[in-house]
Symmetry: C2
Subunit: 115 residues, 2 copies
């Protein structure tokens, strides 16, 4: 079991700045449990589709997430080969679980449309 390399300040600041937004941080936490498509995030965050797309783009631009088309939808997932992935996952592991956001939607009958 090899010790992880320390994260350099610049990389860390870039990551933290990106995650320093409640929407993006919650997105990443949710992505840790399962892949999501844009429409799912739109439903969960009750925000416009472009707003969600723009958040995802930022995450994608730095390489934190990747996309994959499945039928009509594009699913996003965390890139496990991201350079500082351990730093990111450790951070996410310390956050309160957010699955309730998904199950609440289902309970309301607003089941995520694209799954």
């Amino acid at each position: 079991m090899s010790e992880r390399q320390p994260t350099d300040i610049k990389s860390a600041a870039t990551i933290l700045k990106l995650l320093g937004d409640p929407t993006r941080l919650t997105m990443m936490k949710l992505l840790q449990s399962h892949d999501c498509c844009v429409c799912e995030f739109v439903a969960i965050f009750n925000r416009s589709q472009p707003a969600i797309s723009q958040h995802i783009r930022k995450l994608k631009d730095v390489g934190l997430v990747k996309e994959e088309r499945r039928g009509q939808w594009i699913f996003y997932s965390i890139r496990q080969d991201y350079e500082e992935i351990a730093f990111v996952l450790d951070l996410l592991d310390q956050l309160a679980d957010q699955q309730a956001l998904v199950t609440d939607l289902e309970a309301q009958g607003l089941r995520i449309s694209c799954t």
Copy 2:
């Protein structure tokens, strides 16, 4: 040894946003090793005194650091009683050491003036 409580998303996002700036992140990392005064940061970051003061203020406003006058200077240190201190310290622990910033200054004869 009690398990730490998970950090809620909102608090985490606030912290990460604050630390998502290379200057403030480095400040916090340095403060983990020893208290610093404003003039020390000014020398290390080669930035104006107001710029440094304004960064410190943000850290102070959320309760991450506290101040303490020692003679002519005001020294800043990490508040160990900060609510999410464990989250913050864990994060800082994963960053590359920044002590070189201090020793380099000393090596150049630009010894920190206020120590």
